[in-house]
């Protein structure tokens, strides 16, 4: 059952087409990942869902309520945690939560209970009564997340919640997200960390330059890529002659493709093996038959980066560098002020 339906969504800034006819469906209780390099349009998409930007075209519905037509009802349903954390330096964390609770009309008796609960869940006891101005990046993220969760939103929207975080904060946030999902909350999370999306997301959409490149379950996307990545060594330091021989053997096995000899790694053999067939066993038999031993064999699944690379011809990192060069950040911050 789809809780969120996004249809034909487009948004232009003066000279940039930030979103181009985006179509997305998000199931209730799932964690939906949005993956894309800098400037892909992730924030624009999330801000549109959060009623902060009105699109030029298209519709968004949450629980069948139109985001543009009834923004206030939508605001009750969603919790939005922005990419840029904006806290009031002078308030303590607890005061900020109290403030936020009043903006969401949480009644007095529930308020303190909710605040206490979140303080515990996000492990903030030690510093919650300090002023926000003294918080580290990880603390800021956590308090901001707590603020977004106070009113128990049906849909939680997180814009790159773990960028630049220490491992501890990141783990706490990941754990909490998993718990929330178990409780049936729908979570939309943007990221440009592949491992994060891979680990957390039920469904992922890869966007680039305002367009959807691919979407589906992470495993589906990776399966589409075909096969596992395998690195094989027959000796710790092999040589060209030997590895050529092994390559000949591999070439005869059906289901193995794209064999490359990597001279810089002791003439290891890199290739892709179809997953359905039991190729590894076959491989071992063939090698033993030709009197080759296996020094090491590592098998890894293709990453989302591979998927990304295949779809765009660029690695995520390259795309990032390219987009970063194109943006005029000053101009953007001016225009995104309301």
């Amino acid at each position: 059952m789809n809780q969120i339906q996004i249809q034909n969504l487009s948004k232009d800034y003066l000279d940039v087409k930030a979103l181009k006819k985006i179509n997305i469906n998000i199931a209730k209780g799932s964690l939906f990942g949005i993956l894309g390099p800098n400037g892909a349009g992730k924030t624009t998409l999330l801000r549109t869902i959060a009623t902060l930007i009105s699109p030029d075209e298209g519709t968004i519905k949450i629980n069948n309520i139109d985001v543009m037509k009834e923004p206030r009802k939508i605001r009750e349903l969603i919790g939005y945690v922005a990419q840029e954390i904006a806290l009031d330096k002078i308030l303590t964390g607890r005061e900020l939560l109290d403030f936020q609770a009043d903006l969401y009309h949480i009644d007095q008796s529930n308020k303190l209970e909710r605040i206490e609960l979140l303080i515990n869940q996000l492990d903030m006891q030690n510093w919650i009564d300090r002023k926000c101005g003294t918080y580290s990046g990880g603390m800021k993220r956590r308090i901001d997340l707590a603020a977004g969760l106070l009113h128990l939103p049906k849909v939680l929207i997180l814009d790159e919640p773990t960028v630049g975080l220490d491992i501890e904060s990141r783990n706490i946030i990941w754990e909490l997200l998993n718990d929330l999902k178990k409780d049936g909350m729908t979570i939309i999370l943007s990221s440009h960390y592949l491992d994060e999306i891979d680990k957390l997301a039920d469904t992922v959409v890869i966007i680039n330059d305002g367009k959807i490149i691919d979407q589906g379950k992470p495993t589906e996307l990776k399966n589409k890529f075909g096969g596992d990545r395998i690195i094989l060594k027959v000796r710790e330091f092999s040589d060209s002659l030997e590895s050529e021989k092994v390559k000949k053997i591999l070439e005869k096995i059906d289901g193995i493709s794209q064999i490359v000899i990597n001279a810089s790694q002791g003439y290891s053999l890199n290739f892709i093996a179809d997953r359905d067939k039991d190729l590894i066993t076959k491989l071992k038999v063939e090698l033993a038959f030709s009197k080759f031993k296996i020094f090491s064999l590592s098998q890894s699944q293709p990453s989302l980066d591979d998927v990304y690379l295949q779809a765009t011809g660029k690695t995520l990192q390259d795309a990032e560098l390219y987009m970063t060069g194109k943006r005029d950040l000053k101009k953007e911050s001016k225009q995104s002020m309301r």
């Binding site: 009750e76 922005a82 904006a86 005061e95 109290d98 403030f99 009309h105 002020m337 309301r338």
Partner: protein
Amino acid sequence: MEIQQYNFIFLYQETTALTKRLFIQLKRRPSTFFAGILQPIIWLFLFGALFANAPKDFLPGVDSYGNFLGAGLIVFTAFSGALNSGLPLMFDREFGFLNRLLVAPLASRLSIVLSSFFYITILSFVQSLAIMFISFLLGYGFPDLYGLGVVFATLILLVLFVTSISLCLAFVLPGHIELIALIFVVNLPLLFASTALAPISFMPTWLGWFASFNPLTFAIEPIRIAYSSNFNLDLIALNAPYGDLTCRDCISLLFLLTILSLVIIRPLLNKKLT
């Protein structure tokens, strides 16, 4: 019906929260508050000294320049406070804190404006009282209860008028630098071009005309009269070039300006806040 009642409770809750935040900020950063009291007091002291030896009948109706100046300084304090009221909002815009308010299901975004009104009104009341009290200690008198009522009624009108303009500017101008620049340019000249420091009879014709259209003048004159012992709304407060104005006239004009400004800024705030 029930929904409306809820809306009202919600409006109350969010407005209180927004106002409370402003007061916490004030409590932890009180320097501008005290400066706002200190500055007029210094002026009172300096200007009082400057004109200490002026001829006795230099100003009609008052027995010293300090006596004359008090009303102007009270109004100036409230005016400066209100003029600056857009700044916190501007910073919220710039730092993205406003987004926190805009994604919240506020009963009405008017609460953002209301909270600023409350805050500045209370602030300027406290500051004015402090100034009135100190000038009382300096021997410049104190209005009676009726007079005090007039002082505060006048101040509320002025504060509403100026705050609404300042909040509007906070949405229209590109950033706090521009807002501060504008405040800088407007603040003192408007004071000097009012009857705060000198009566219209001292001014060249052009300035007299200007001063008698200056909203600050409409606020200053009733307050000045409120200090006299036999206060009455029908006393002549201002000898404007276009005719005499009573206290009642001045306050009515101020009231009109306030309503007008609220009507004019409403569409703009609506646009910026939906």
